[in-house]
Structures are given as C-alpha cells and as structure tokens.
C-alpha cells in the first residue's frame, strides 16, 4: 500500500512536469476539428472498438462513467494510463491491460481524449489527416 501511494505521488510529480511541458507539445495533432494524426486516429478507433461510449457517453460527456472531457483536464498522462490498465471494477471500469488494442494504442487514446477535453477535436467521427493514412484505413 505504501509503495502504491509513493508511486501515485511520484506519478503526480511527473504528471505535473508533463503538464507543464504540454503547452508546446500537445499529445495530438488536429486540423479542421476532425482530421487527426495516425496515432490519435488509432486512439479514437480504440475508443470506438472497446465501446467506451457505453459508460462515458458518445461525446465523452459522461453517463454511468465520469465525463472524460472534464477528467482529462486533471488527469496526468501516467494517471490516465494507470486508470485504463487497472480499471475500477467496483464502479464498472474494466482493467484494459488484457486488451491488446488498448495496450498498443493507449497513448493515442490519451491524445484523442485530451483533444476532446481541450475542445480542439470535435465530437464524433474523426478522419486521417493525409491521403496515405486514408489508404491505410481502407485496408
């Protein structure tokens, strides 16, 4: 338990550093509200495939689960990572460490949700930024 708390504390510290540095390096790139970089696109696809909207709402506004447009204003990247991987079964959040798609794409998912929370990415469908990514999607 003690170890856990310490870990959380240090995560908070690290988080603060990341947040401080975040001003010049957003974890996503977006154009025209819904055209995003490949990593963020995969994050959104992960969101969709794992049916996150069933608890967090189609526009991340919160349903049974918390409003992520709000949570992402406070959560650090590492806190987000921990919450997604460990879940909170009592409250209905599954531990997503068992999902390969989440393990592979959690950073993109963080980026996507951060973009939603910042109001930079519009709700709903997002699309690849460039044509080469478009063809990757068609695969």
């Amino acid at each position: 338990m003690k170890f856990w708390k310490l870990l959380m504390f240090s995560a908070l510290l690290t988080g603060a550093a990341v947040a401080a540095g975040a001003a010049d390096a957003a974890p996503y790139t977006v154009k025209e509200g819904n055209k995003v970089d490949q990593k963020t696109l995969m994050g959104w696809r992960t969101w969709r495939a794992l049916a996150c909207e069933r608890c967090h709402g189609a526009q991340q506004e919160g349903l049974v689960g918390p409003a992520l447009v709000e949570s992402l204003k406070k959560l650090t990247k590492e806190e987000f990572h921990q919450k997604v991987m460990n879940g909170n079964p009592e409250k209905g959040m599954p531990p997503f460490s068992v999902s390969k798609m989440v393990v592979d794409n959690w950073e993109g998912l963080y980026g996507y949700l951060k973009g939603r929370s910042d109001g930079k990415i519009k709700p709903g469908h997002v699309y690849p930024m460039d044509a080469s990514a478009q063809s990757a999607q068609k695969k």
Partner: protein, 614 residues
C-alpha cells in the same frame, strides 16, 4: 444419430412426466399459489405472462383515492427492474447487483431473513453499464435467484438457507445474467446475457429438486446443440409450416461465426401446461456490424417453442433475419386465446423490438398477424405474410450502407418500440396494454475484432425522440392483437420502461421514467390517478391481497438502458432534440433511487365506494 436416441428417450420421458403429474404433481405448490390472486407468485402473475389480476377491490371509481401504505429502501442505487413476489404473508424482494434478497413479513414489514451473496465485482464491468436484475421465482418451497455472476441459487423460502446452486455461465468471457429465473412444473428455466460480448445464447433447464441440469437448448449452432429435430422442428415457410431441415442455423453463418453468434436469452419466459411448451425469444446476432456476419444468422431474433421435459424445439419463428439494428427478439411472449377471423385460436402475442407486433398460433407456430405497433416504424414496409420476412427499406439498411457510414433517422432506435418492459393483457376487452418507446436513431457500424470478455459491439448510435410526432419518447397504447391495430395511444414524455398490470377492477397501472406510477382506464387510456415516487420507475407493477385488503406496488429506481439513454441525450445530436421531449430533460425530473412503494385505499374507502355504487 444422436436424435434417434433422443426421440426414443423423449417418448419415455413423456410417459414418465404424465405419471409424475398424476402422483406428485408438477409443482402443485406454485400452481396453487398462482391460482390464488392474493399472491403474486411469479414475475408475470401466471405461466401465460398476462400480468392480469382478478383482484377488484381497487377499481376505476376508487383508484383516485389510492395512498402510500408503506415503503422500503432496497439499499441499492441502481436500475430496479422486475417486481417482488408475494406468497401468503411474505414478500420477497430482490435488488440489482449485488442481488440481495429480503423476505419481508407483511404483518409488520420486519425482515424474516436476508440473503446477501458475495459476488466478484469484476462482473460489473462486463454488465456495463447497468446491473439490473429482473426478479425472483418461487416454486417447491424455494426462492430462486439468478445472480449476475451466472450462479443460480435455490433458497429455502422459510429460512433463506441455500438449498442448491448451479453455474450457468462464465463472466470471464462476457457471460452474465439479468433475467429472472422461471419455474415451470418441475423445472427452473434460466437464460444468459452478453449479446454485446459475443456470447452464444442458450436456455438451461434445471430440476427444481436438486439443481441438476436437465437440458440446454442453444440459439445458434449445430442441430444437436439447438435440440432441433430437422424433420420435426417446424418454421413458417411459404405460407405454411414446414420442417427446418438439416443444419438450419449453420447454413446461415459464414464459417465458424456462429460461435460468436449471440442469440442471448435474457427476457421473460412463458409456459403452456396443456401443450407442455416453453416460449421465449433470442437476442441479437454477434456484432452489431451486419456486414461482418453475412446470412440470416439463425436462430438469433427468434421465438422458440420448446418441450419443457426435453427441450426439443417444436417450432421456431425468426422475426428479424440478419439484424442490422440490434432489434433483440427477447421480449416476452404472452399466451392468450383470441378470436381471429371468427375462429378461436390458441395464440401467442409478441411485441418485438423491431416495432412489429406478431400474433402466432402457439400450438403450430403459424404466423397470423404482423403489424407495426408504432406508425413511425420506418426500417421496414411491413412483413410479407407468405415468407414471414420483413421487407427492409434500403434507405435504413445499415448493411447496404456499409461500415463507417452513418445511417440516419432509423425508427425505432436500438432499444426498440418496446424493450424488456412487459405488457399486460385485459381479459375483459381482450386488448393488450403496451408500454412503448417512441425513439429513433442514427447507426454507424464499424469493423470490430473479437476479444474474449471485451465488448463486441461494432456500431455507434445516437438516439432521439421520434421526429414530427408529439415530441415525447414514449406512448402507452392499447393493442388489438387479433386485428393488429392500435385502439388508443397515450403519449408519454419519456419511454415507458415499466411493466404494466391490468386488474379486474378495470384499471391498468404502469410507471414512468420521471417516477410516476399511473392508473389509467383500459377502455380509453384516461388517467385516473398518479403518484410521484422518488426515482424513475423501470420496475413492473404488481398487486396482492393481505388481511382482506388489496395492495399495488412497484420499485422506484431509475437505471437500465433507459436510464443510460436518458443521459445519452445530454449533449447528443440536436436533430429531434429540443421540442418538449429528449432524455436530457429527465435529469430535471428524477435521480437515482432504490425503494419499494406499496399503495392501498384508505380504510373505509372500498366500503364507501361500494355503497355509492349501490
């Protein structure tokens, strides 16, 4: 091969069953209790699922004086579906997860016993997002609880001690339970949930005495799993009943997709003792992305009629072949005898999620009537009575549009013109009293991969009130099942997600998402009485008599899909929102709760009314 053996065995079993019913009787305990309208001995009040009561102390002329008699907190803030049971001087109460059971003494509302199961909380996320339970069953001196974690528990009705338990699924692969178990004769029937997790549906029958598994009837897969006799199991084909033939399910799937075939069985079950047939519907096939599972996907979205002793299917009828909208076929199947075109027919009536109400001959499986029970239903132009198939309107076909295309303005929405909220039957007018949803949707399917225990959905939806209508999201209607016609329709602000109750007192009761319990006239839907409970009502209204007095009760506690749907409207697509309706308004009316409300007439009210009527 297996079948020859089976049918031989069936013959023996049939003889044995006849003998048994003469000597020990099937379950004389439950049948006796159900025969006395003072009790509410099963979730629907009877085997036939009519939700009708012969009690008439509370009637159309005095119902306006109904008052709260007593209340009780369930201690759980989640969606409360189903209803308590009443057997003699005891009421049996259930809760959503963690599925507590309380036996309450009706004399003084003290607790006789409490059963509080310990369930692994990891089942909660798999049930995402609400943890409803549709209630208990009674029979053979036992109370049956179907826990969320797929444990079926038999409790001694007098002491609450566990008599036996059985495991009917595995939450690690997304299998959970929300359905009520059902007692028919000497069996306890249960199903499985997990239609959004690639679960393969089945119905399991246990022996009531010892919990030994009697049979399992799967919804999809090989004939031996389905308990189908390819030559004797019938279905509606070209205007008449014909054998389903060999591999009737396997032929309608690509490769091994049937293994993730869905067809879960989380609804209500009914039983005809004369025919010895159990009736129920199966849920949606595999993923919600239709282009990922070509074919009719049999026998998802299907009404099954199975022999209670053997599980062998006598006939099947698929409402929505190759589902493209999540129109689960699990809604209840009430059994009533109707006059259809001058002939008395042993019928069953089924208000499907797809917006069509079906009347079938319950003995033969013949299709008699299939009509829309909400004029806004637009995905189909109607059912071809020869083939029994709905004609799909291309504009609303999510399969024709393909993945990553958002199909707009489909009516009804995925939660259907009606979902699990059960109808009641008015034995006087032969009309059904139907709680409905009046909601439409957009539906965008997408490619999804199966991972055991992870959601296997593959579609993004938004829901909104039916456009160009009264602005509300529900109606409470009266339906003529012999002719397939709406007789009257009472608009409601929100979906009516509460089960109805009709009584011999010429009153029909139901609850609303705002939290009202209402009494209306079955003749014209005129409101006679209403009372605001603390939370939205998604439970079913029930009635009983104790100490010479009639009571009416209902759970108050919003949740379930409707509860989630309500919040879904908060900032949802604006099309159709605005107006008066929209689930977003619901937050203005109610909040979470978990209580039981019991109503009665004030002392002297029944006498006074009787005098007035003289």
């Amino acid at each position: 091969m297996r079948y020859e053996y089976r049918s031989m065995w069936v013959g023996v079993a049939a003889v044995a069953a006849t003998v048994a019913s003469v000597t020990a009787g099937a379950d004389p305990d439950l049948e006796k209790r159900m025969g006395d309208p003072s009790n509410w001995a099963s979730q629907a009040g009877d085997y036939a699922n009519t939700r009708w009561s012969d009690l008439n102390q509370i009637n159309a002329s005095n119902v306006g004086r109904l008052q709260v008699a007593w209340t009780l907190s369930t201690g759980v803030l989640r969606g409360h579906e189903g209803s308590p049971l009443v057997i003699g001087d005891t009421m049996y109460i259930h809760t959503p997860f963690p599925n507590n059971v309380y036996a309450v003494n009706l004399k003084d509302q003290t607790y006789k016993w409490k059963y509080e199961p310990k369930q692994d909380a990891s089942v909660v996320p798999v049930m995402c997002c609400d943890t409803v339970n549709r209630g208990l069953a009674y029979g053979d001196g036992k109370i049956f609880l179907q826990q969320a974690d797929t444990t079926l528990v038999a409790l001694d009705a007098n002491t609450g001690k566990v008599v036996w338990t059985a495991k009917n699924g595995d939450p690690k692969i997304g299998e959970t339970n929300t359905n009520a178990p059902h007692v028919f004769k000497d069996k306890v029937i249960t199903g499985i949930s997990g239609g959004e997790f690639g679960v393969r549906g089945r119905v399991i029958a246990y022996n009531i005495k010892d919990g030994k598994k009697a049979w399992t009837g799967w919804s999809v897969g090989p004939d031996s799993d389905l308990l189908f006799d390819p030559q004797k199991t019938m279905t509606w084909t070209n205007g008449k009943m014909a054998p389903v033939g060999k591999d009737s399910s396997l032929k309608t799937w690509e490769g091994e997709q049937w293994k993730l075939g869905g067809g879960t069985t989380w609804g209500w079950y009914s039983y005809d003792p004369k025919l010895n047939l159990v009736y129920y519907g199966s849920g949606n096939p595999g993923t919600w992305n239709p282009s990922q599972r070509k074919g009719d996907n049999k026998w998802s979205m299907t009404i099954f009629a199975r022999d209670l002793d053997t599980g062998v299917a006598k006939w099947v009828y698929q409402m929505t072949p190759h589902d493209e909208w999540d129109f689960d076929g699990v809604n209840e199947v009430p059994l009533v005898d109707l006059d259809i075109k001058g002939k008395k027919v042993p019928a069953l009536v089924h208000f499907d999620r797809n917006g069509i109400a079906y009347t079938l001959n319950r003995e033969t499986g013949e299709l008699l009537v299939a009509q829309k029970y909400d004029p806004k239903v637009n995905w189909t132009s109607g059912v071809d009575m020869k083939t029994g198939r709905p004609t799909v309107v291309r504009q609303y076909s999510t399969d024709a549009a393909g993945p990553d295309v958002n199909v707009k303005d489909i009516c009804p929405a995925a939660l259907g013109t009606k979902d699990q909220q059960p109808v009641s039957f008015d034995k006087k007018s032969n009309l059904f009293m139907v709680p409905t949803n009046h909601v439409c949707m957009t539906y965008e399917p997408f490619q999804v991969e199966y991972v055991a225990g992870q959601p296997y959905v593959g579609a993004t939806l938004t829901m909104f009130p039916a456009p160009n209508s009264h602005g509300g999201m529900g109606n409470f209607i009266a339906w003529d099942a012999a002719n397939g016609k709406i007789v009257w329709s009472k608009p409601e602000r929100f979906s009516v997600w509460s089960g109805a109750l009709t009584t011999a007192g010429d009153v029909v009761f139901y609850g609303t998402l705002e939290g009202y319990i209402k009494a209306v006239s079955p003749k014209d839907g005129k409101e006679l009485w209403k009372f605001k409970t603390p939370s939205g009502i998604i439970g079913n209204v029930f009635t009983y008599q104790y100490g010479g007095k009639q009571y009416v009760g209902v759970y108050s506690g919003i949740g379930g899909w409707a509860g989630i749907g309500m919040a879904a409207g908060l900032t949802g697509n604006t099309e159709g929102l605005g107006a008066v309706g929209g689930y977003k308004d619901l937050a203005k009316y109610t909040t979470l709760g978990g209580s039981l409300f019991v109503f009665a007439l004030p002392d002297g009210a029944t006498g006074a009314t009787a005098m007035n009527q003289r």
